[in-house]
Symmetry: C2
Subunit: 253 residues, 2 copies
Amino acid sequence: PDNLVYLTLTSGPVVIELAPFAAPQHVERFKTLVKGGYYDGLPFYRVIEGFVAQAGDTDESADKQPLVPLAAETSTAVTQLSAQPFTSVQTQDLFAQQVGYWQQFTAGQDPQQQQRWLLHCPGAVAMARSTELNSATSHFYVVIGQAPRHLDRNMSVFGRVIHGMDNLQSLPRGEREQGGVIDNPSRESMILSARIGDQSHFHNKLNLQVQLFTGPKHQQTLQDSRSRDNPFFHYKGNGNLDICYYPVKVKQG
Amino acid sequence: PDNLVYLTLTSGPVVIELAPFAAPQHVERFKTLVKGGYYDGLPFYRVIEGFVAQAGDTDESADKQPLVPLAAETSTAVTQLSAQPFTSVQTQDLFAQQVGYWQQFTAGQDPQQQQRWLLHCPGAVAMARSTELNSATSHFYVVIGQAPRHLDRNMSVFGRVIHGMDNLQSLPRGEREQGGVIDNPSRESMILSARIGDQSHFHNKLNLQVQLFTGPKHQQTLQDSRSRDNPFFHYKGNGNLDICYYPVKVKQG
């Protein structure tokens, strides 16, 4: 519960699961800001159809104390991760040598370069930054469209949405010509409150259960998806899987 | 305009561009039903997070005249398409030998089997069917999540959403355990009206402009995406592109 963040947007509840194993400093920063009420009342001010919804403080008043920029956590040396298994789902994916699951998150791995990283699948939560790699401070985005895998290894993914994608995908879009920035963010795009491990501000209490990807049910799903050994499929495919289509499911119940 | 369908959902407007070149019989059926007011008042009764939103008539009263099932149009022989160019974007994509654009739609092509088909990218519109390949009649779905490419060559894609994805992605989800079927579809999920080439029922008139993918601007976008020759990208990738991330854009203006 210490790694679950409960957001109430104007459109409804959103729950983020944090990934301290992949981006410890980003998770710590996010938690600190959430605990301090930093995001309460801030808008999703940049929402691009088929891409991301980004939130943060756009008020650049001179009297604000700037936050210290974070060192990027775009990937982790595998040598540090011997105790953390990687369950491979697909080799030679379009973008990575190996993709699969790292804990309950979709991840990529490069055996030569001995690096592992979280993927920009739908629902991925990452910190925004400027051109400079080590420049993230507080603005964050959620992937709301087709996986922008070109951001893998470039941005620090530190969590994923496990509930309420509909409430993010319903946010008003900005114009692409203006980089998706919404001219005048209204109450419609607001984060009303953000809390760690505490959903007492939710109207309906959620009981979310992450389904283990190592479980036999999940393995069977992947096997069935590869073979398409089901009369519904008249074209049986080539056995390849897009890892971003198979996130570790979270059940409400 | 004859191939644009204007839907008004409870959540807002949605515009579909039809693809008669790929699925002529499905387009004809859809147009006939729209013109007859068939979809007016029907719900999106099956909405699955990360997958599709499906609409149709779930009332199986015995006194209704059943519609004649359609022969599948899951792909087209390339030999028939010599006058219709295919602009390749990526070879050896995870699922197809070639992917690119066919008219303004994302498509796949198999040079050996001489087949071409429309892809299940976000926004793709296709007819639902039972296990039997030639069984579609009227229920249709829209892809609202990561591209379910395993449905390529299995289902008849006949259009794409060019406006209002937010109004589809905000639809209430059903439970996965129940195949995403919503127990009791309410007004929230309703198609209030559907019209061909006529947006007079829209509150705000839209002026949608499809950007030509053959244009130099689009080609430059793809080239820049391949090379990531931009200081923002510290990891430059391998030059591969996910075609579903690069739909032909539609501008409002």
